[in-house]
Amino acid sequence: MLAQVSTATIIGVDAVPVRVEVDVAFGLPGLTIVGLAGGAVLEARERVRSAIRNSGFEVPARRITVNLAPADLPKEGTAYDLAIAVGILAASGQLPRAASLAGMALIGELALDGGLRRVPGVLALVDAARWAGLGEALVAAEAAAEAAVVRGIQVVGAATLGEVIGHLSATARLATATAAPIPEARPADAPDLAAVIGQSVARRALEIAVAGRHHCFLEGPPGTGKTLLLRAARGLLPQLDDDEAGEVSRIYSVAGLLDRRAPVRRERPVREPHHTVSPQALVGGGPRVRPGEASLAHHGLLVLDEVRHFRPDALDALRQPLESGSVSIARVDGAVTLPARFQLLAAANACPCGWRGSERHACTCDEAAARRYATRFSGPLRDRIDLWVRMEEPARVARETDGREPTHAVAARIGAARARQVDRQGCLNADVPPQDLLTDAWLGSAGARTLVREGQRLALSPRRLHRAARVARTIADLERAERVGRGHVMEALFYRPEAGR
């Protein structure tokens, strides 16, 4: 007898529907799983046998064949356990009303005692079931709150295989899980901007960067407040909107990093990988493609302090996501694309001793060593930085307070500037396509003219002009200016990485 059960599998941070087909036939007793099943899937045989037996059912002494369709898609993980077990029970006639299986996705890992466990990526898996047109998803009780976030599909949580069978045979219906409302973002645990002494230029650049999601690099001697500014930046981030929250939660669900009590988060992610991070950990990869730091920082901040101490191969792997907002990982069986639309905030000393470019301290570095150090953040990466700030040592900084603004005042301006951008073009300035950048409609004729003329004087590349155009637009947005003026463009060019080189 044949039974079919729906479930789903993760590819990258997306999921696709999978059908589990179970055939119970006469022949030598055994359980075979086909359909490019990986190690964890093959082990499902033992978990499923025990779980069925310990739930008071029996594994028929027949030849059982399980096929996971589409059969050419490699499958990993333990999310198929429940579907296989229910399929076997249905195919062997132990499940009354097997028809109830139609229109339902079963997702979960089985314990030997028949208990049901959560699997990573439930959010994405249930979303795939909804996309496949299924009306109901049965998941582990502990994952129900997370899964219920997906709208357009009923989510039911069950604690054991027995409860699942009870629900399917309508003897003991389980309640539909409801999604908790998405909580407001908690205030970020960040130092206040007012704590930064001096450094008006860096604070200004940080404000512009966050307002338009521009990549920003702080370069300067030790002790100038680079790290403090990086940490203060998270306090400037506006909370995620509903769509962004869904995307971010999906990625975190797949990575198994969601907070179980609050499966959907409003806080913009901030990732601060250590400088020993490997290329794979930074952009994702591995035998089962896992999202890397770049994807975990999707819609948020990727903070790289002491960026010149990172492995150059890891940094170079960031080139693609910096440009396109996503990471493609080539695999034997095709490429997996992970979203990675992060904002890069980096900080570094200018040379190993830190004093290069200083007017007061003499740099003690060997010339060749200093050059090697500088190029650890390579030219192509530098080209992708929108705002490059050269900080100076505090000794030269004027001591009087310069009306240092607190975080909340700056964050309010940023929020307003972001709203203007979305109202105007439906996205942030960083995401405006290149062909629109230098147009009169977007940049204004005065702005575009100034940018092209000054760009020629400063011998800037087309890529730099594009980046400066976006920054100039953001500066105008912060001022609530309708048109981009000459001053906005000139300030945007001030932050070019090529300055003075």
Binding site: V201, G357, S358, E359, H361, C365, E367, R390, A398
Partner: protein, 412 residues
């Protein structure tokens, strides 16, 4: 040989013949200008470790370079720096024809467009004749007449600050426009800026290299070296071409820089900078020494400030004052200056008073960072200000030519 009683145990242990320095002026160079002797000078100067002082001592002892070469390994006690290598060299090359050595050196020099000049040649730079001991052989490419002009050395640290760079440019530019030859060591930092500024002012520059002329050191300044030659300047080295040397010889380069110049200006030097060695040489060789002061808390200027404090060097208060001290005069610069807005004019006026970062300009002018950033970019794009990749902005020569009043006078 001097008496056993006065023998220095250190040198005695090393088996070196103790010797008094021999004054070059005490040498009798008459009759030492035949082609064979000239070739012998070149061959003798190629002995490893043979510096100007050793050369003078050898000439004094043997009477001529030809006689010295015939003496072979007897020369070894006169060579303090590398006696083992010298002995090896002398053994290997015993009996070789000096004329062949000279021909090879001249052929190698011809390939880089230069020539070999010995201290007995008429072409030997006149100013070096006051040097004691003087370099026996020079390798020169470019315009030899540049070595006869009134020359001022502009030297300083390789790790120059923006202040140091902009001052080096200002001074070299003034010297070049006053018709002086700017001499420096082609190093990164101050040296490079000085050469470039002299060329940009349509002046003449002489670079003294620590390396052979066919292997310009530092390699990053190979283009600059070509430009120096192309603009009527010269490259000079004591190191023969085609010779594989271990390390660039900075000590001899510095001495030659001082020797070729009538005055030396140290623009920026931290403690223990090579430029301070040049300064010490200038004092011992009796050249006028000038130093550019820096802020008292600037590590990069500590060496210069000390030279001034010790009264070893005269203070340079401005490029104009330096020219006056040197008895020179530079005609004014010409150039069209762009129209500036009020803010840009104010910012430039401040920079001309003193280089400043945005943070400092905020304090002085009370304007927001954004407006200052715009103004500075405008000034930068028009070549009136530059940051040298740091946070502090400096006025350029073009801006200085305009003068403080000009910048501040401009109304709306």
């Amino acid at each position: 040989m001097i008496g056993v009683g006065t023998r220095d145990p250190g040198t005695a242990e090393r088996g070196v013949v103790p010797q008094r320095p021999v004054s070059w002026h005490a040498l009798d160079l008459r009759g030492l200008d035949g082609p064979a002797e000239r070739a012998a000078w070149v061959a003798l100067s190629l002995v490893p470790g043979m510096g100007p002082a050793g050369f003078a001592a050898v000439l004094h002892r043997f009477g001529s370079a030809q006689a010295a070469l015939r003496a072979g390994v007897e020369l070894v006690p006169y060579i303090h720096r590398a006696p083992a290598a010298a002995a090896e060299h002398l053994r290997q090359h015993a009996g070789q024809d000096p004329a062949g050595v000279l021909r090879r050196a001249e052929a190698a020099m011809a390939r880089v467009g230069g020539r070999v000049i010995t201290a007995v040649d008429d072409a030997y730079p006149g100013i070096l004749c006051h040097l004691d001991p003087r370099p026996p052989v020079l390798y020169v490419s470019g315009n030899q007449a540049a070595l006869e002009g009134t020359a001022v050395a502009v030297v300083g640290t390789r790790r120059a600050s923006g202040y140091g760079r902009s001052t080096a440019i200002d001074i070299a530019d003034a010297l070049a426009r006053a018709g002086m030859v700017v001499v420096s060591g082609l190093a990164l930092g101050i040296d490079g800026e000085a050469h470039r500024a002299a060329i940009d002012a349509d002046g003449t520059s002489v670079a003294v290299l620590p390396s052979p002329l066919d292997r310009v050191y530092p390699p990053r300044h190979a283009d600059l070296a070509r430009r120096i030659v192309a603009t009527g300047g010269a490259l000079v080295s004591e190191v023969p071409p085609g010779v594989a040397i271990g390390r660039p010889d900075f000590a001899r380069r510095n001495r030659l820089i001082v020797g070729l110049s009538s005055a030396v200006v140290v623009v920026e030097a931290p403690d223990r900078s090579g430029a301070l060695l040049t300064a010490a040489l200038a004092i011992s060789l009796g050249r006028e020494l000038y130093a550019v002061p820096g802020p008292i808390d600037a590590v990069a200027s500590r060496g210069c400030n000390r030279l001034i404090a010790d009264q070893s060097a005269s203070i340079v208060t401005s490029s104009g004052a330096l020219l006056q001290r040197l008895g020179a005069f530079a005609p004014g610069r010409r150039g069209t200056l762009p129209a500036l807005s009020d803010v840009e004019g104010l910012v430039l006026g401040q920079l001309l008073r003193r280089s400043a970062s945005i943070e400092e300009l905020m304090g002085r002018l009370g304007m927001p960072a954004a407006a200052l950033a715009s103004a500075l970019t405008f000034l930068e794009a028009r070549g009136l200000a530059t940051s040298y990749g740091g946070a502090t902005f400096h006025p350029t020569l073009l801006a200085r030519g305009r003068g403080t009043r000009g910048a501040e006078q401009r109304g709306p």
